[in-house]
Amino acid sequence: MGEFESLVGVNFWTALFTLINMILTFAILAKFLFKPVKKMIDDRQREIDDQYAQADAAQREAQRLQAEYTDKLSTARQTGEQIVKEATVRAQDRTDQILRQANQEAEAILEKAQADIALEKKKAVNDAKNEISGLAMAIAGKVVGRELTAQDQTDLVDRFIEGLGDAL
């Protein structure tokens, strides 16, 4: 039968064993439990943080792209409208121009025609005047029995024409 130690006392050997046990426990727990578990927790935390950061970046990128595409789309629509508008304006101009040109040409043709008519008329009148004067001279020669001078003739014809002109 052994004996009891004193209640309040320090036994050197027990203390030494306790110290050895403590160091052993510390070494093993730190190596096999605390550090690996802590590392695992930290690793997972880091991974989660990374993934969140990546997700955030991807979302920002997507938003940026969306804004960019929206921008491009609206630019394209504006450009399209612009082109259509310009084309319309140009077509309108062209139409006006063609119309104007046509009118001008028509007017020119008309004027020319009228001038031609007037010329023809004058020519016809002159021809008729000459014819009539010749004719009248011949008649008058017969009637008067003598040759009229050129001066008489002309005066006569002119007076006749003037009287005729009123009738025309």
């Binding site: 052994g2 004996e3 009891f4 130690e5 004193s6 209640l7 309040v8 006392g9 320090v10 036994n11 050197f12 050997w13 027990t14 203390a15 064993f17 306790t18 110290l19 046990n21 403590m22 052993l24 426990t25 510390f26 093993i28 727990l29 730190a30 096999f32 439990l33 605390f34 550090k35 690996p36 578990v37 802590k38 695992m40 927790i41 690793d43 997972r44 991974e47």
Partner: protein, 299 residues
Amino acid sequence: MNVSVEGAFVYFVIPIFGGIPITQTTVSSLVVTIVLCTAGILLGRRLTKRPGGVQVLVEKAVGMLYNLVSETMGPHNTYWAPYIGTVFLSSICGTLIGMTGFLRSTTADLSTTLTWAVMTSVIIWYNSIKRNGFIGWLKGFTEPVAVMTPMNIVSEIAQPVSMAFRLFGNVMGGGVITSVLYAALSTASAAVLNLIAGNGLLVCLIVTGMGIAGLAVSLKKKKKLIWKLLSLVLAVVGALALLQYFGVASNIPILQIGLPAVLSLYFDLFSGLIQAFVFCLLSMVYISSACPAPEEAEQ
């Protein structure tokens, strides 16, 4: 009745180096070490990124430990967490191992607690010397004025001593109170049984009868738990008194059942946890004051 409160039982002495005593504390300490190391290796194995049930608990516990250390000692001292965790687990298991009944709490031995406390002190001194140099560390004792030197030295020695005695005293005190209680209850039950059996057969029968009747009534009418328990105690005491009257058994310490369990819950479990926590908290505070944050150290 004698109540003897002794230290750890010495199983045998190894006859070398002038005799190495193998005590209850030695054995308990070894058991705690083996249990903790085995549990640590088992729990720390096969960690996965997607944790299973056990790993979640282990991670929660380790995370809490690191958080506590980080909050108490500052983020720069987080690397002390394994040491604090080891002291905490050793202290708790060392106290709780006393509840097995055949092993003695390691923390109920001053050898253990003083070793741990001195270990903490050595760590503190080592860090102070590393930071300030040996001369600077010695000079620290003369602050704020040279007159304080003796008191500073005393407080430096008192620190591990108080830590050791706080833990030891609480666990030991619990053990002393428990053994005193057992002795008292044994005496009390012997007195009660003698009183009833000494008054003759009739009294024994009456007590037993009252107990059984009370138990029957309280069970039938669904009375409160306290009435059932009282009746049960009365019936059992009466029955034991009868046995004693006929000489079958004598002085069975019946009253030792029940009450000590409740007290053990406090003195062993609660007190053990609290004292382990206090010990670790004090260690953390002392160590962190020796290892201030880098920016504070420069000031």
